[in-house]
């Protein structure tokens, strides 16, 4: 009798746990399916996060990856040191469409360099990952050797201070292991990291991929 009472109680509790798990799963699925699943019912003007909203894509595809927003980045250099990978999964990316092809490149040369040569002592890049190639007078092309780039952002700092800002840091998803909690994101002083839809994994300035450049009500691709 006692045994059967315990059995009965166990069955009841088992049913309760099952219902609880079902409720949790069902609730989450309901939230994805429902229109305006964000909890603000699509009322973007009430949402505090509307400027960095990536909901429509996230809702459709569900998978997210980490990315940093170059417009928030202050080039502190922590991307190079805080990634759990060595060298970091963050690399400098060159948006050629923004580049001015300057002879005196703020991203390539150390400030105050007199001779504009490819000598190591005049280069900003500590690993010689930024290559300079003559195109035509007076223009030079700058390309990045990603194998050498450590994501320190020194060239990015120079380029955004003295140039067009065509050199930008980005998480490279062929290297990134997509940690559940990005270790760089936790240490980023500018809060530039966010989860973005995996189908649209870049947030480059000047390539039509800005994530949070001040537009309200979600991104327009």
């Amino acid at each position: 009798m006692v045994q059967s009472r315990r059995e009965f109680l166990n069955t009841l509790i088992r049913g309760g746990i099952l219902a609880g798990l079902g409720l949790l799963g069902g609730g989450m699925i309901f939230r994805w399916v429902r229109k305006g699943s964000c909890g603000y019912g699509g009322a973007c003007e009430k949402c505090p996060k509307a400027v960095e909203c990536t909901l429509p894509e996230a809702r459709n595809y569900q998978q997210t990856v980490w990315q940093l927003d170059p417009s928030k980045c202050i080039q502190c250099g922590r991307c190079a040191t805080n990634c759990i990978l060595t060298p970091s999964a963050v690399k400098c990316v060159h948006v050629f469409a923004m580049c001015g092809y300057c002879d005196l490149c703020g991203g390539y040369f150390k400030p105050g360099t007199k001779t504009l040569s490819t000598a190591a002592e005049s280069q900003l890049c500590p690993t010689n990952a930024l290559k300079r190639r003559f195109v035509e007078d007076p223009f030079f092309e700058y390309t990045i050797d990603e194998k050498l780039c450590i994501g320190c952002g020194k060239c990015v700092k120079g380029c955004s201070a003295f140039g067009n800002g065509s050199l930008q840091l980005q998480v490279r998803h062929d290297r990134c292991v997509n940690c559940n909690q990005c270790s760089i994101a936790r240490n980023c002083p500018a809060g530039a990291y966010s989860r973005v839809p995996a189908t649209r994994p870049s947030l480059l300035k000047g390539s039509g991929n800005e994530g949070s450049s001040g537009k309200k009500g979600g991104p327009t691709t």
């Binding site: 746990i17 949790l24 964000c38 569900q62 417009s71 292991v177 390539s207």
Partner: protein, 420 residues
């Protein structure tokens, strides 16, 4: 060439003076005459969804196969083989992410932050092991979890800790789970991932601290089997609760126990309950009084724990980046630092007013105050139940696995001489 430099410098000065419009091209894109073709910017694609689906399928298959092997086939060797496969797939191939242990944080964040979208794979990784546990006990720990598999490999000389030490150390996971949920729910941090010991081994790449932690756990794991699973794993708490009510749990013997005592020392996790036979029963009245007395202690523990938690809320909130930033801004020694901390530089350049930041921080602090009460109360409750639980004796004539702490590793099965 010099002219270009001077022109460049002139433009620079001009634009630094009118710094207002960030993003406007200072140097217009040149028109090339030599037929130079501008290269495109390569953006490597992220991992495809199909591979995420594969992860979930592998998890489901592994859970189903291991359940069958434990419940029906009753073979330790096969369980070991599957656990090796899981270690290779979820550990070394998937490099430890996504994992069920960490998924607790995502679920907690999704429950408390309506704006966070929970990826469906993470939901699956959270729910599938719990469902299988409800059916067959902690089979996930036996051979699907890569952490468990790794520690199982090094459990060479398992020693007994004794029930008291087990009970005391067994309280740590509850504390860890409480903290995890508090930090995840307030959007502060994912501490399971932060203090993840084995992910560095899976990636052959980690900080020194991570390797040190993994080394300590693996070396102590040679003598104390599965230290992470037993005395740290926060997901294990959920599995522990659910496994108590599992539908078909692994049994040591396939038929009737013959009390041969061969399995007695077979469990490296001290999860086998020795027979407790009702000899001269303690009067019911005394047992009930004992239980009531310890039951009365529970509300006391809850209140005391809650109060302590609420007193510690400021310390707890220090992990939150917003709270940390406000503290940094108010700290006179930090603002005098040369160069100034990156956090302050970044905050200034964001153009956000300090008052807004402070109000955000005070909202977070309030959450931590409430969270401190709940966390402390929860710890008190767990502590109270642990004390009260020791007053209850369950009578059973046979050697049985302790459902809540048994990892269903099937070692004891090999020791049982009874054949079905």
């Amino acid at each position: 060439m010099k002219k270009t430099v001077i022109r460049g410098l002139f433009f620079l000065v001009l634009l630094v003076v009118s710094l207002s419009s960030f993003g406007i091209q200072r140097f217009p894109k040149p028109e090339f005459e030599s037929g130079y073709v501008q290269p495109g910017t390569v953006i490597p694609a992220a991992r495809t969804t199909i591979l995420s689906i594969l992860d979930v399928v592998v998890l489901l298959t592994a859970c189903a196969v291991i359940s069958w092997l434990i419940i029906r086939k009753r073979s330790r060797n096969w369980v070991f083989l599957i656990s090796l496969c899981s270690l290779v797939y979820f550990g070394f191939y998937r490099e430890g992410c996504v994992c069920s242990i960490g998924s607790v944080q995502n679920v907690a964040l999704a429950l408390f932050d309506g704006l966070y979208i929970l990826p469906w794979t993470i939901l699956a990784f959270f729910l599938i092991p719990l469902l299988f546990t409800l059916l067959f006990g902690r089979i996930f720990c036996a051979g699907v979890c890569p952490f468990g598999a790794l520690q199982d490999l090094v459990a060479f000389y398992p020693q007994k800790l004794g029930s008291r030490w087990n009970a005391v150390l067994g309280l740590i996971p509850y504390f860890y789970l409480g903290l995890t949920i508090l930090y995840a729910a307030t959007g502060s941090d994912f501490i399971i991932c932060r203090y993840d010991p084995f992910v560095g081994i899976f990636r052959f790449n980690a900080s020194f601290g991570m390797f040190l932690f993994a080394g300590i756990l693996l070396i102590s794991g040679m003598f104390i089997a599965r230290p992470y699973c037993r005395f740290l794993c926060p997901y294990g708490v959920l599995l522990n609760w659910i496994s108590r009510f599992s539908w078909r749990h692994m049994t040591i013997t396939p038929a009737n126990c013959i009390q041969c005592r061969l399995c007695e020392d077979s469990c490296p996790y001290e999860a086998i309950d020795k027979p407790v036979i009702r000899k001269d029963p303690v009067p019911v009245r005394i047992r009930i009084r004992k239980l009531l007395l310890s039951g009365l202690l529970i509300p006391l523990f809850v209140l005391a724990g809650g109060w302590i938690g609420s007193q510690l809320y400021q310390g707890l909130a220090d992990v939150n980046p917003t709270v940390k930033l406000v503290r940094l801004l108010n700290d006179p020694s930090a603002s005098q630092q040369q160069p100034e901390p990156f956090e302050i530089t970044a905050f200034r350049s964001s153009g956000k007013p300090v008052s807004q930041l402070c109000s955000e921080a005070s909202v977070i602090l309030k959450k931590f105050y409430t969270g401190g009460w709940i966390l402390g109360g929860f710890i008190g409750l767990v502590f109270g139940f642990a004390v009260a639980g020791r007053m209850i004796t369950r009578y059973h004539p046979d050697y049985i696995p302790h459902k809540s702490t048994c990892f269903s590793c099937a070692r004891c099965i090999d020791y049982c001489p009874v054949k079905s």
